[in-house]
Amino acid sequence: MRLQARSLAYLFIAGAALGLLTLVFPHSDQIRDFELVILAAVAILIAVVIWVFADRVRPWQLHVVLATGTIILSLANYYVEATVIYPVLYTWTALYAFYFFRLEIALAHIALIAVGYAVVLVLVEPPSAVVRWLLAVGTPLIAGLLISRLLGMLRVGVQDAERRTRALQESEARTRLVLDGAPDAFVALDRDGIITSWNTAAERLFGWSASEAIGVPFRSLVTPEEFRDRHDERRTALIEMPQVVAMQRYDNEFLRRDGTRFPAEATVSKIEIKGEPFVSGFIRDVSERVRRQQERETLLREQAARAEAERVAELVSGMQLLVDAALAHRTLDDILEDLIMRVRGVLQADAATILLADEEERLTVAASSLPRPSQGEPGEQGEPLQVGEGFAGRVAQTREAMLAHDPAPADLPDPALGQLEIESLIGVPLLAENAVTGVLVVASVAPRRFSAEDLTLLRLAADRVALAIEHARVYEREHKIAVTLQESLLPAKMPDVPGLEVAARYLPAATEADVGGDWYDVIPTPTGGLGLVMGDVAGKGLAAASMVSRLRSALRAYALEGHEPARVIEQLNRLVWTEARDSQMATLLYMVVEPGESRVDWVNAGHPAPLLVNGRGAGHYLEGPSSVPLGVLPFPSYETVTSAMEPGSSIVLFTDGLIERPGELIDDGMAQLAARVSEAPDDLEELCDHLLQTLVPSSGATDDVAILMLRNLPVTDRFRAEFEAEPEALSQMRAMLRRWLRHAGAGDNAIAEITTACGEAATNAIEHAGGGAAARFEISGRNRDREIEIAVRDRGSWRHPREGDQGRGLSLMRALMDTVEVAPSPEGTTVRLRRRLDSQGGSG
């Protein structure tokens, strides 16, 4: 409507101008100037109004205005009283109507014009009526029809151009809208890189407004310094491309107005506008995409890491099991077998071999696992490898993990692998404290090839394997030392003391790696009795074993000096107190028993009380003060307790391992022990076994168990004893003999004399014994109605006493006894001595 309205306004202005012209140029007086000026002013006013409101005018308002114009023209004609010029104006009005309106409406307007013109003609110069009507109606009609034909063609052309322009504008606007609404920045550059287009997304993206960006070189605005040359190169290359439309995609980095960088993807193409090349491009901020991708990658890495961690955790727990197994008294060989199976499983390898290095840098196959175990004994065919030799040797030399494909036969770690089609090998060194302790090699059979990832995994496994092996080795070494030490500390053989029977057992804990500090000892006293020791040193392993060693030697030394038990223990306490580090302590029970005596002397340093079992099997724990363990106080008071012990009864000494069971009270354990003893077999050895069977869980002891038993045999009319052929045995023999003789009813003198005579016989036996260190002599006695007969038997050959010192023994024997018989034989010599207790001896 705007166009029509403005055209109408021009028409009105033109009309007013024409009217005013007639007033400016010379004209007849008949023209009424004032009225014409009024009409021209009205026309101008209308023109102004419709110009101003051109955008809001409605079609019917235009028709009213146009009709008003016709009336004004008619009035102007009337006042001018001229009819010649005005047809032209009418004609233009009609043309307007034709041009802008539909035919019917245009005809209505023309009819109105014709009426107006006719009225003016009739009023101004009345010619003949016919002429006037013809003029009034015909002139504008014919002129209108004629010209309208012409204008109609013109109008089509105008409308086309207008539509094109409008379409172009709309297209531009749409493009603008599309570009502005686009999520991506749109930028166009000319051949010099000057920005010519910059959409709202570009404004958002870069932070520069279109007015700031357009006309500025792109490179200096948003291209980072280091990429500016590249930008120029790319732009120039694009511009110079022969194709008009060439599209390229780049990953770029750009700068925002605030200086921050962001990754972007640019899709650029060359366009030509009026022969001038431009570069246009969409730029998309991909930092989000990059971030997401990074997140995704991080997530993937995390997932991979977690999977790896889980795999490693599984591996570690597997290895841990093996380490646990190592603690449960397992040998290195056992562990290697397990490790190798484990490694094979983790890597899904077809074969695996562990080679261990020795001090001379030789690698020997220690364990091998093949797909089919029937393929020979692994390791047996293999000669030790020197470090640097073969695949495994190179791994040991370089200390680097290695991956080899299609290995040569010489590179196979185990010749048994030669029967397989080995595709690849991985070898990793086993390192312990920076030394190569061995090499772990896994092999894959075709078609599987190991990858670098397998290498990493094996490296992880190797760490564990090395650790487990080292652990096992250290353990084996220490355990061996500790066991050897401990075994050396336990008496190998019980002393054979007449009148006393001794039995002992030592059972190491099944689940413990280290030997404990439990120990016992049996020491023959100079007076023919036995010192019994049962002790428990706190701690385990070598430290405990060495403490036991010191206690044992010290106790033997003190005991042999003949101190009473409490003094012996006090001395030991000083030893532990002064020597032991780290508040080491030990419980100990020391007991001295003389054969034939109805008592025991004992002292207790914090140890479980001894169990006394009488001849009928009833047991009770001996009561007495239990003082603190050794090493707790510098000067504790220890007291020797004397308890009655009838001949035929037994004493049971033990360590807490025998009475302690998890979840049970110690008192229950002690009651159990007493109960088991009472139901037990009579023989001491069998009793020991019975106690272990009934009190130690079938799964093995949880702690070390030591038992020491002694029985005080009743004195009878007969005795028989064996002694080592050593001078030191003489005093024991005499002590034993005195007790027996007293039991047999001999008086003091008789006891002294018979003992002296037997001593002489025994001295002879010792001197003649021969047969090396293990030589022994035997003494047996019989009391038949106060007739004492004693035989001393050795395995040496009798040498006839010479005169002098050597012969004095025989004379003594003869003087002191009723009869003396020496019976040499190839097996040895027997000296038989007889004496009636009532006689004074010395038959002469």
Binding site: P727, L730, S731, E753, T756, T763, R808, S811, L812
Partner: protein, 117 residues
Amino acid sequence: MKDGLVGLEIKELEGVVVAHVTGELDIAGAPHAGERIAEAVPTSARGLVVDMSELDFIDSSGVAMLFGLVRRLSSRRQELRVVAPKGKPVARVLEIVEFERAAPICPDVERALEAID
């Protein structure tokens, strides 16, 4: 001082060495005890008293020890006296081997010292 089961205390009284032997004197302790006693007697000493009043046991080895001391001392013209109260096992053994033919046996240390001039 103990040596095996033998206790030995040696002192000097008025130029005479007195060796107090306790315990049991047998082949395990006698040879060594004899050595120690002999070494304890300087050439300047007038004599030696071996006090066996508290000795519980003696056998032929102990007797041999005494005869050995007698031999040593007589070569240096030093006198030996043995203290062994009568009725005790030790005196009985010395009696059987007729030790008194080699050196006098006295009932106590005082008499033994007196007997050495």
